[in-house]
Amino acid sequence: MSESAAKPRPEFRNIHVSQILKYRMPGPAIVSILHRISGALLFLVGIPFILYLFQQSLTSELSFERYQAVVSHWFAKLVLLGLAWGFLHHLLAGIRFLFLDLHMGCDLPSARKSAAIVLFASLVLTALVGLKIFGVF
């Protein structure tokens, strides 16, 4: 009894941004925060950039050539690669969340496994897109 009085119980409050790096996040937490970050990336950069490319590619034969010139620049390729990861991660994590909503794979081992699959598969698919963008095949 006296021991509990001497040693105050630990308090757990919402964490602050500055504490994030100290937390060891399990796979599902990483998938979740990356889902949010990739969504913000797609909103801020993805939609306007893709709409711009969409417009250039469709307006005329001349603008189509301009589109081809833009996407063959190394920086545009890098941006597209980043967006490809954002889209693929958001897509795969979203599909995983749909299954969780249907109460499928909610037990801890399955949730950890599917989170690892999402993280891994989105990187593999992004690498494939990267090989395509940089002209390996």
Binding site: G39, A40, I47, L51, L58, F64, G94, L98
Partner: protein, 116 residues
């Protein structure tokens, strides 16, 4: 006029929850649709690409997907602001700007589509 809002257990968030998932599924279906259309093009030339979006089927499908994307992005970005931006005026300003930007994206997409 009196406004009655149930404070607890009213399920007001349920509609957004459902729309977020429905719009997500629409975007998945559109992604697969576009992928198949692309694979069926003989070659990626301007003529084939513009010809694809000249069809009414592609105009309608892409428009529906764009609307789904805009609503999906609205709910997602709004949730980010609700979680991290606490000052009411700043949050209101950011959310208003988000709506304006998203409506702009939709009009932009429609204009591109209906010029082809």
């Amino acid at each position: 006029m009196s406004v009655s809002r149930t404070v607890v257990g009213a399920h007001y968030g349920w509609r957004d929850f459902a729309i977020q998932r429905l719009s997500g599924v629409v975007i998945i279906v559109f992604t697969l649709w576009l992928l198949i259309e692309l694979l069926m093009l003989p070659a990626l030339t301007y003529g084939n690409w513009a010809g694809l979006f000249a069809t009414m089927r592609m105009k309608v499908v892409t428009s529906v997907a764009m609307l789904a994307l805009a609503y999906h992005a609205w709910i997602g970005v709004r949730d980010i602001f609700m979680d991290y931006i606490k000052p009411a005026m700043l949050r209101l300003a950011l959310q208003s700007a988000t709506i304006v930007v998203l409506v702009g994206y939709v009009v932009w997409a429609f204009t591109i589509l209906w010029r082809v």
